[in-house]
């Protein structure tokens, strides 16, 4: 019993402590956008052409390397700021894979198999881009949950729904003095931290429970079946919720026993969607959107894994 608890304690606290800085950073960026950036300004920055915009979105990670924990608060804010959904989705999915830090750590892990690194980068790009296309075809759909305050505002005949806590923050903020402004920004950061942090901690608890009690060796029996192995490693990636910087090292150790495609699928699906992020997303996004995102990315990652198994013989 005490061994189980120790294990749970260490995993939970290390996931919490590791992600905390990135989570806070995400909330802070989101608060800055909230207070200082006008919606129109952001829209102007994004290329008019859809294809160009999505290509740009999937490469933003190179300039702005954040891992998945820091991305969601910002993504939520960007959608509130009316940035097109396909742009946010493409960026959100590609940034944890197509960024220099993750590429480097994958390179370390697969130093003798550079093909794996290429598969991961290209695969990550493909998944993000394709999902972006699918969401861009769907046009404008409401993706964010409304909170109670806004529902009240809705009732009092507000034309457009808005999920931010205080509308027109930008204009309000301009009139304040320097210190007041920053107190406001950190207040907003704290609010976002509360909103996002509770789901994040819940996710970390689930991850720690699974890592403690799940018999990992059980999965290894699935072995090298071209489809079953891909499925099982994708599920494992979802459940373990590893940081995209570290998962390549775990993935590497699967190479001997599992098919190539399944290892790639592990490294694609983990960063794009995992248990922690799933709970995270369902906190502020609508159920339909979250499930759709889950289904689309899952199918894409599996497809890439199976294709690699089918057409690329080691």
């Amino acid at each position: 019993m005490s061994v189980w608890f120790d294990q749970f304690r260490i995993i939970f606290l290390s996931v919490y402590l590791e992600a905390l800085p990135f989570l806070l950073f995400g909330c802070f960026v989101s608060a800055l956008l909230h207070a200082f950036v006008r919606d129109e300004f952001l829209l102007k920055l994004i290329p008019k052409n859809r294809w160009v915009a999505m290509t740009v979105a999937s490469l933003v990670g190179f300039v702005f390397p954040v891992c998945d924990c820091g991305i969601y608060p910002v993504a939520r804010k960007l959608i509130q700021k009316k940035v097109p959904l396909y742009f946010v989705v493409t960026w959100m999915l590609s940034a944890p894979i197509v960024n220099p830090v993750v590429i480097l750590s994958t390179w370390y892990a697969f130093y003798n198999q550079p093909v794996c690194v290429v598969f991961r980068i290209v695969g990550g790009f493909l998944v993000a881009f394709t999902t972006g296309i699918i969401f861009s075809r769907m046009g404008k759909i409401p993706v964010l949950k409304k909170n109670k305050e806004d529902q009240k505002k809705d009732l009092s005949s507000r034309a457009e729904a808005c999920t931010c806590h205080s509308c027109g923050e930008y204009d309000k903020n301009r009139k304040l003095s320097g210190v007041e402004k920053w107190v406001n920004v950190f207040n907003q950061t704290g609010r976002e931290f509360y909103d996002v942090g509770k789901y994040f901690i819940f996710g970390a608890i689930c991850t720690a429970v699974i890592q403690t009690f799940f018999p990992k060796m059980f999965l290894i029996s699935v072995g090298s079946h071209p489809v079953a192995s891909v499925l099982s490693l994708a599920v494992l990636a979802f459940l373990l919720s590893l940081c995209s910087e570290a998962d390549a090292f775990i993935a590497r150790t699967f190479l001997g026993q599992f098919s190539y495609g399944s290892v790639i699928a592990f490294m694609l699906f983990g960063p794009v969607m995992d248990l922690k992020n799933f709970l995270f997303l369902s906190a502020s996004f609508r159920k339909r959107f979250v499930w759709l995102l889950f289904a689309v990315t899952f199918i894409l990652c599996i497809a890439i894994g199976v294709l690699i198994n089918g057409f690329w013989i080691v």
Partner: protein, 304 residues
């Protein structure tokens, strides 16, 4: 001032944030954070501490201004880390992680020699005596800093280590006795395991001394075990045991997870790894002596 106003959402939120700031600064000050995170994350944790403190200040202002909202259940989540932490006494040398470690490897996952930074093996050759001393001091500092194991042995030990670590094939060893015994300690553990696998022929027949905890995988035969350390890449959640394979008939007398000092001779042996489907010759330590030791301060080794 009424009670509801005082014990509002803002009050509890502020209190919980302060408790989290306290916890973070406590484990940072005592370096206990090394039980959870790789040392390179420490600057980020300091940044998080600053960020949280700023949030605390702004929440205090908010509390003074206006606080009437009712406490919400979500606050409980933020207490959870503090509760978990206080339920068990702090101890870093736990090998509990190894029990369920995701990958139970006999081999170090990263080859320092061939990866991007080719530092240790070839460079040690070129070090002048002063630089070597400096390096030795750095190592010592690091040992102290990370509370790694401090080795107390005769003074010629570094020379030996140097001869072994630095011999990329081109080194002339003054005599065979000089490197009769190779020691694996906290600070050179990972490098030595790599080197051992890379140059089995060189090490074959040499005597080694390894300290680590006993680790057995379920498919090992009754006399096989690994003297392991935990290799950490990012955080404790991805730590996995690493170490050289050993052979001793009476190992079952020792419990898994016990910290031991093993002395033995390196042999080259065929090993069929059924988990990873790898059949290869690996270095195996034929144990001559095994001795239970005190837990070191940290079970972790890093690729620095």
């Amino acid at each position: 001032m009424n009670i509801r106003r005082v014990f509002s959402f803002n009050f509890w939120w502020l209190a919980i944030l302060i408790a989290n700031v306290w916890y973070l600064s406590e484990i940072l000050a005592a370096k206990q954070i090394l039980a959870y995170l790789h040392p390179r994350f420490i600057p980020y944790s300091f940044a998080a501490l600053v960020g949280l403190s700023l949030i605390v200040i702004s929440q205090a202002v908010q509390f003074a201004r206006n606080s009437s909202a009712k406490p919400r259940a979500g606050l409980l989540f933020f207490i959870f880390p503090l509760v978990v932490k206080s339920l068990a006494p702090y101890s870093m040398s736990d090998t509990a992680m190894a029990q369920g470690a995701l990958m139970q490897i006999v081999r170090a996952p990263v080859k320092t020699e061939k990866s991007v930074k080719p530092q240790a093996p070839s460079q040690a050759l070129k070090l002048s005596p002063e630089r070597f001393l400096l390096r030795k001091n750095n190592l010592k500092q690091r040992q102290r800093r990370l509370a790694m194991e401090v080795v107390s042995k005769k003074k010629e030990k570094p020379e030996r280590m140097r001869a072994v670590i630095g011999s990329g094939g081109a080194v002339k060893l003054s005599s065979e006795e000089e490197i009769k015994q190779v020691r694996f300690t906290g600070s050179n553990f990972l490098r030595m395991v790599d080197d051992l696998y890379d140059r089995i022929d060189f090490y074959e027949g040499k005597r080694v001394e390894v300290t680590g905890f006993i680790f057995r995988r379920s498919d090992f035969s009754a006399n096989q075990f690994v003297v392991a350390r935990l290799f950490m890449w990012c955080c404790a959640a991805d730590a996995a045991p690493v170490g050289p394979m050993c052979k001793w008939d009476k190992i079952s007398a020792f419990q898994s997870g016990t910290w031991v000092k093993v002395t033995g001779v390196i042999e080259n042996e065929f090993f069929d790894d059924t988990y990873f489907n790898e059949k290869s010759d690996i270095p195996v330590i034929r144990v001559e002596a095994i001795e239970e030791i005190e837990k070191p301060d940290s079970p972790y080794v890093y690729k620095l």
